[in-house]
Amino acid sequence: MDYLALYVTLKLAFVTTVFLMVIAAPIAYLLAYYHFPGKSLLEALVYLPMALPPTVIGFYLIIVMSPKGFVGQVWGSLTGGSLLFTFLGITIASIIYSIPFAVQPMKAAFSKIDRRLLENAYILGLSKRAAFLRVIIPNSVAGIAAAAVLVFLHSIGAFGVLLMVGGSIPGETKVASIAIYEAVETMNYSAAGMLALSFIPISYAFLLLINKLNRDSLS
């Protein structure tokens, strides 16, 4: 079994989940609590990565992240390096690819917060920002957990996008799903099955963790 690929996969899923929780929370908050012109359009844009086939997302990401692309140029002039075909590159791709799965459950959770709790927070002098951190977030743990589960598992399964942006470099960007793909393509079905089965305990362990965090925060 390709342990190195499995390791890269877990690292990627973990990093993506952590970053995305931080990035998605303010976006979800904006969508849940504010009304502004073009809001639905922004929302549609946020969800677009989900509606597009991974190869298409990958294609556009290559264009912007390549040394001649906008992001690639900025990055190159700052660090001298390239984004494509690096772990950082696939992390960014994976974050963009999974944004909708983080934003949507969080938005649903935020919008269910009892308005009266927020009113009390304002009365107690909390700014909107502080109320978000101290009241909305802790009372949305279930939704945030849902988001984390979706993002984590989705990053494990991400493959089309990562294959394109990552270039399948062992130890750096070759993730387990690429290994499975190779195994299936080369008719090595038992290896594919083995790798696929290895995802069950991983998902299982992650779910146990999230459920535990969720429960702890409630009791």
């Binding site: 009266r116 009113e119 009390n120 009372n139």
Partner: protein, 237 residues
């Protein structure tokens, strides 16, 4: 500091339209029939709702002025508000709830002592009785050192004995808090005991005759006629 308000607001079945003033160390008690507009008035003072017209002035700060389009946020008003349906934060235990915006955390312990819920510090709101939740909400509001205290039926879930005790405490606190207090209650004894001024609110207006009509047998309308049949209260000091 003195809070003075003069507010109008169109509601579905009547219009709110009244003015009042309440000075530091004074307690104004609002009383009146259910649905009469007391909670709505309190919410407007707190900045949670906007009057259609009028002013709310606190000392030399203008909190609300419909003509000058001033409307200060609740945060900046720095007041204490015990909601009618005690909005404690469900994710925090009682102590953390009370200390949520406390000026000095140490004081919270004293407040818990005063309100007799020290033994419940570590419980979450859904694990305590209605009266206990209410007392925690009072701690939360007081710990903030408010410049104006709004209490919307804060003792409604308490038994007579506890209530009497707390009523006393509140009365003696009044001097120390040095802020205006506006208190909503349905309990006429409480009103008479606590109030420096009583503001009877009936269908959005001040109706100075309401107390009299309610306490005495004077049969104003059907409800009261019925009410009059029950044992009458006479106040013996």
């Amino acid at each position: 500091m003195t809070i003075s308000a003069s507010i109008k607001r169109r509601l579905k079945y009547y219009d709110l339209d009244l003015s009042f003033t309440c000075a530091t160390n004074k307690m104004m008690v609002m009383i009146g029939p259910s649905g009469g507009g007391k909670t709505t008035i309190i919410r407007m003072l707190a900045g949670l709702e906007k009057p259609d017209e009028g002013q709310v002035i606190f000392g030399d700060e203008v909190w609300f002025d419909s003509e000058r389009r001033i409307n200060i946020t609740p945060q900046k008003r720095r007041l204490g508000y015990v909601f009618q349906d005690y909005n404690l934060f469900p994710h925090l235990n009682l102590l953390d709830n009370a200390a949520f915006a406390a000026v000095e955390k140490k004081e919270v312990d004293d407040l818990f002592e005063l309100l007799k819920i020290s033994h419940l510090k570590k419980r979450r709101p859904h694990m305590v009785s209605g009266g206990e939740r209410q007392r925690c909400a009072i701690c939360q509001a007081l710990a903030r050192h408010p410049r104006l205290l709004l209490l919307d039926e804060p003792f409604s879930a308490l038994d007579v004995v506890t209530r009497r005790g707390l009523r006393e405490e509140l009365k003696s606190l009044k001097g120390r808090l040095s802020c205006p207090i506006i208190y909503v209650t349905h309990d006429i004894h409480e009103a008479l005991f606590l109030a420096d001024e009583i503001l009877p609110v009936v269908d959005g207006k001040i109706d100075r005759g309401w107390m009299q009509r309610t306490i005495t047998r004077e049969p104003g309308e059907a409800v009261q006629a019925k009410g009059a049949r029950e044992p009458r209260l006479s106040l013996v000091y």
